[in-house]
Amino acid sequence: MIPPFKLIQAHSTSDAVAELQRLGDDAKIYGGGTELLILLRHNLVQSDYLIDIKSIPELGSIRRANGTVSIGAAVTHRSLETDSTVREMLPMLASAESQVANIRVRSQGTLGGNLCFNDPHSDPATVLLVHDATAQVAGPNGKRQVLLGSFLTGMYSTTLEADELLLSVDVPRLPAQFGGSYMRIHHLQRPTLGVAAAVSLRDGALDEVRLAVGCVGPRALRLEELEGKLHGAAPAEISKIIQESKTSLKALLEPIDDLLGSAEYKLYITGVLLKRALHEAVHNATR
């Protein structure tokens, strides 16, 4: 049973931040509730107040400005899956969102909730890292922005302070000559592995490479070292370079044995999906 709590309806972002400041640790932000209600029910989180932010118009909008899509924190996965702007400008994100959990969770759960909860077994963060997305955060001292890679600090943790609210995620589209690909492996309720790749080509070789892996490590991570090794490589060399990077991937991702499989298994399929995603991204870049 969920212990009793008081629901506070926030009407603006400043309203929500003021409530957070007033109530401190006793309050939690309530968006879709798909993660929060489970935690409350299992008594893993205690909260006397829930601040409902769903009716703040600013947080529910998807706005397009130049080459960037600004996604409000309370936008649902289902909206991202179906929105025409997202599908056109961020097809990799739309594809990843279409695979999140099931349609009931997608209709309820929000992007902001997903990122703030930062469950390592999640799809959107992996894609957003490849897009170099930025989180817009509001607090008592005004707004700040932080690169998503720095916002997500570890398993179930972010840089968000107790009195701060995630407003939106600004996602630049991939530059025109880039191809992208998101691939995942999924057995239980949450994904076992997610891999996002984006590449541009120069004279048939890989030019800029962006890679991110989610679910296997404590948080979604960019693979900067591997990206550097792949720069300038021919597509035919991808397989060999990934094979040679197994040791550094293991050190970076720190896979563990759990219900989703052994660390060996996770590392192996990470290599397989990295190769596949890179080849598909190359294919999409040359189209």
């Binding site: 492996i185 057995h187 949450r190 052994s262 298994y265 192996y268 399929i269 999906l273």
Partner: protein, 142 residues
């Protein structure tokens, strides 16, 4: 008939057929539905279901972690054959049938995987990880 991805160990049943000796059946649809339902439950035993313990605690006692077959696990084609010879010990020559198809799913799927990859997985459930281990791509779990 099934399909194995040799790189990831992912397995999908493509076609599935059951044949049951019913002796006698009075209502075709009522007889055939549990045969198919039983087969699907058998997919669960063969491919997914396992209670995992650690330090005396069940680690997967909720539907988040305990996987049952879902629609995407089913093949496009499932067929049922029922033998009716009136030679059983029950009323009108019937025999016990119902969900007897549960028990044959794991051996059938194990054989389909062996047919596809030439390697045996000898414990249930047959997970992608065990398939990769059978193929020698990752070390077998102790």
């Amino acid at each position: 008939m099934g399909e194995v991805d040799p790189d990831t160990g992912e397995f999908q049943v493509l076609q599935y057929a059951v044949a049951v000796d019913a002796g006698e059946m009075l209502h075709y649809k009522s007889a055939v539905a549990p045969l198919l339902g039983g087969a699907v439950m058998g997919f669960g035993h063969a491919l997914f279901e396992e209670i995992v313990y650690a330090d005396g605690q069940i680690m997967n006692a909720d539907p988040f972690q305990y996987r049952l077959p879902v629609l995407k696990d089913l093949p496009a084609l499932m067929q049922t054959s029922v033998l009716v010879a009136g030679d059983g010990p029950g009323p009108f020559g019937s025999k016990g049938m119902s969900q007897t198809t549960i028990v044959t799913a794991a051996p059938a799927i194990g054989n389909a995987i062996y047919d596809a990859i030439g390697a045996r997985v000898r414990s249930l459930p047959i997970t992608p990880e065990k398939i990769l281990a059978a193929l020698g791509k990752i070390p077998a779990k102790k």
